[in-house]
Amino acid sequence: MAEVEHIDEIKQYIVAKLGNEQYGIDIAYVDNIVRMQKITRVPKTQPYFLGVINLRGEIIPVMSMRRKLDLEDKEVSNATRIIIIKPEQNALLGLLVDEVREVVTLTEEDVEKVTYENGREDTNFYVTGIGKYKDTLISLINVNGIISD
């Protein structure tokens, strides 16, 4: 059983960039990464939802990570990607990010847990911890947090 525990300590993250900040998404949740494509606007929905896309015949909502994290909108560039994640509810969701960098492996020692005192309202709720990788910091996204409201 020692081996199993060992595996639990190591997690891989997809690193995405929003402006100068780096965000990590647990690779276990990531289904796919696609280039920017036409997003159909859905009127009257939550402001951080850009709309829906057609991914191989399935309609998937796309959320702007910038809007979700209260950042300014940025123009779509060649590097813009939609990370398709599959949270535990098993339905797909797209996250629009500026750029996808790399996959990193972090052990438990590399991660500093974030504790919440201000409660749910804080945008920090969307971040579970800060990962240290080489000499950069990566905010680790709480996938179930961003879909829960």
Binding site: K38, K44, T45, E58, I59, M63, A91
Partner: protein
């Protein structure tokens, strides 16, 4: 013994029998002297007992056994039908439904013995028969169609060895000869199954399975396939090649339960019908051990005539298909339609593809996909009968409970709906019927006072209307008292008095559909008035339908439910608003109009148009869909007139694209969807377009 493969059949057939029992007992209650009904009830009860016994559901068998006894007495005229008996019988049927529900869930009947009901049934029997005759003993002797044993004995063994008369093909003859030369035995066998046996095919299957390790069946009559499909009477014959002695095979066959008789003897291919010296083994022990089945001794004569009558399968050939498989098929059809739409739009865009042949092929493909879609849809269609047939019984019970006289008249039960809709529509309909019975209809006294017929009438009428199915539930009761509804809403704080003043009757009635709204002066356990109507509404809307109420004070109330025929694929009008495409389902569209801007008038600060004498409010879709306002108004407006019930509205759009068959897809989780959108669809070019639910805009 593995009976699981028959469980499904058992469940289906039990349901049918219980339904027919319910129906027939209702008829019996009205017309206690109807002999046909009593016979029908007896048959259904008897079949139920046999089936439950075969499947090993002992408690169920016991209960049906006692039920059967009661009916047997009624049938023989030794007992008359009283309301008490009917009540007990209904209780018993409910208990049986309870068993069935358990079986459906866990393949086990559960542990409820229903002693009380059995007790009641026995009281009924004993009350009628003080001399203490055991009811079981009676049923066995009171079978009128039971012919005396002698009749059977009169038929010679010769005739019963049907294998002797089987035609034998040359190759079969050769196989037999060869087997004999190799020191094997050839046996001719005829097996008779008890007439009371319900799962004949299962029994026959067990016979074949038993023989399999002992030898080879070289011919059977009817064919194995026919036997499996239950296309045989109560006997079948076969030839077996085996090394084993005759007794062993005979033992194996007669060990299968519900086998009445087995005739087996060594057979030589040259044997004619005259050769009777061979020893015929008659197997009676099984039959003796099965005495509890009273109907077993049908005469052979009857058997023969029915055998001829039953040669051809009476029912249409059908296959039971798992609904999931149909869903898969439906999904594939949807994909195909999307792919076809892609081809169509490609052919429109690219000039080089504009050859006649290419277009012809695309039209061909279009035709096929549309037909394919229709066929798959049809497979999924189920008559609403399967939902509504339990309502007469429910109304009867309500009538007793509420002490009101009422009757239910149902029409259009054959109207078909998609299976997924059928599964969901039962509860809302039941709720509306209960409302009608409890609150719609006045008490019998009140009805007499206002000069209405003493018996209240509830109608359930279903019919197809274009791409929709309409179900109307109406009563001839007091109607909805609008003032009372308003007063109650004010009291609850749902609306203010000023709002109440302004409200039309229709708007007031719509208040009934608000969550937890009840005007019940007296809340009964059947339903509080209005309670749950919000659930009815949301359920029906969840199915893509809508519900409407018409009520005339003093004359009655009608609930009108409209449901889409199909859920997945619809015809829609594609429109453009600024640069975005939207789909509007065709079934809610009345007409398309070109209206000069000057014709738009303002009434109470709302834009309306006067279309051939009807004033129709305009809905600016660009405003509703949060577009930036246009800089200048065009001279003419393109208006799509949509309807919901008898209300209309005009949706203003920028451009018409055309009619298209679209596949409705859900918009995914997480994202909030305004109720004006009923879903989305994928267009030929791969883009997504939202579907506007026009009902929410009227």
């Amino acid at each position: 013994m593995d009976l699981s493969q028959y469980l499904e059949i058992f469940i289906d057939e039990t349901k049918e029998h219980l339904q027919s029992l319910n129906d027939q007992v209702l008829i019996m209650e009205q017309d206690p002297d109807n002999v046909d009904t009593v016979n029908e009830i007896f048959r259904a009860a008897h079949s139920l007992k046999g089936m439950a016994g075969t499947m090993g559901f002992k408690r169920m068998q016991r209960l049906t056994h006692d039920l059967e006894n009661v009916f047997s007495e009624i049938r023989n005229g030794k007992m008359s039908v009283t309301p008490d008996i009917v009540d007990i019988v209904f209780k018993c049927l409910d208990a049986l439904e309870g068993y069935l529900a358990n079986i459906q869930e866990s393949a086990d009947e559960g542990t409820e013995d229903n002693e009380e009901i059995i007790h009641l049934l026995n009281d009924v029997l004993n009350g009628m028969d003080e001399s203490g005759n055991r009811p079981e003993a009676k049923t066995e002797t009171t079978e009128p169609e039971e012919k005396p044993e002698q009749a059977e004995a009169a038929v010679s063994d010769e005739d019963k060895r049907k294998f002797l008369t089987l035609p034998i093909a040359d190759f079969e003859k050769n196989a037999m000869k060869e087997a004999l030369e190799n020191g094997m035995n050839v046996y001719g066998v005829t097996v008779y199954i008890q007439e009371t046996c319900i799962l004949k095919a299962a029994r026959a299957f067990l016979v074949f399975k038993g023989i399999e390790p002992l030898g080879e069946v070289i011919k059977s009559e009817p064919s194995v396939q026919d036997i499996e499909d239950e296309r045989f009477d109560f006997d079948f014959s076969m030839f077996i090649i085996s090394e084993k002695p005759l007794e062993q095979i005979q033992k194996v066959i007669s060990n299968v339960s519900e086998i009445k008789e087995v005739y087996i003897e060594a057979f030589s291919p040259d044997q004619g019908k005259t050769d009777t010296k061979k020893e015929a083994a008659k197997e009676e022990t099984v039959a003796e051990s099965k005495q509890e089945n009273p109907k077993e001794a049908l005469s052979t004569e009857t058997k023969k005539t029915t055998a001829e009558a039953k040669k051809k399968p009476v029912v249409n050939r059908s296959v039971r298909v798992d609904i999931e498989k149909l869903d898969d098929l439906m999904n594939l059809v949807s994909e195909l339609i999307i792919a076809k739409n892609g081809l169509v739009s490609a052919s429109e865009n690219e000039e080089h593809a504009q050859t006649t042949q290419f277009n012809e092929q695309i039209e061909y493909l279009e035709r096929i996909t549309t037909n394919l879609h229709e066929s798959v849809m049809k497979v999924r269609m189920v008559p609403i009968e399967s939902v509504v047939n339990r309502f007469p019984r429910m109304i009867r019970d309500l009538s007793k409970k509420l002490n009101k006289e009422m009757e239910l008249i149902m029409t259009g039960e054959e109207t078909e709906l998609d299976r997924t809709v059928i599964d969901e529509i039962g509860d809302p309909l039941m709720h509306m019927l209960r409302n009608a019975a409890d609150h719609g209809l006045e008490s019998t006294l009140d009805r007499i006072r206002v000069g209405k017929p003493q018996v209240g009438t509830i109608r359930l009428n279903a019919y197809q209307d274009g791409n929709n199915v309409t179900i109307e539930v109406s009563d001839d009761g007091a109607g909805i008292n609008v003032e009372k509804v308003k007063a109650s809403a004010i009291q609850k704080g749902n609306i203010t008095e000023e709002q109440a003043e302004m409200m039309s009757d229709k708007e007031a009635i719509d208040l009934l559909f608000q969550p937890a709204f009840s005007t019940a002066e007296k809340v009964s356990d059947i339903s509080g008035r209005g309670v749950g109507l919000d659930v009815v509404k949301s359920k029906i809307e969840g199915l893509g339908g809508d519900v409407e109420v018409n009520s005339v004070l003093g004359e009655g109330t009608t609930f009108i439910v409209r449901l889409p025929l199909t859920l997945a694929i619809i015809q829609a009008l594609m429109v453009e608003i600024q640069n975005e495409k939207y789909a509007i389902p065709l079934n809610s569209i009345v007409t398309l109009e070109d209206i000069p801007c000057t014709d738009v008038k303002l009434v109470q600060n709302k834009e309306v148009i006067n279309l051939r004498g009807t004033v129709i409010p305009l809905v600016r879709l660009d405003e509703i869909l949060d577009f930036e306002p246009r800089e200048e108004e065009p001279e003419n407006l393109i208006v799509v007139i949509v309807k919901k019930g008898d209300k209309q509205a005009g949706l203003v759009i920028d451009n018409l694209i055309g009619q298209q068959e679209i596949v409705i897809k859900p918009l995914g989780k997480y994202i909030y969807i305004h109720k004006m959108f009923s879903g989305a669809t994928i267009l030929g070019d791969g883009d997504v377009a939202l579907i506007i639910d026009a009902n929410t805009l009227v």
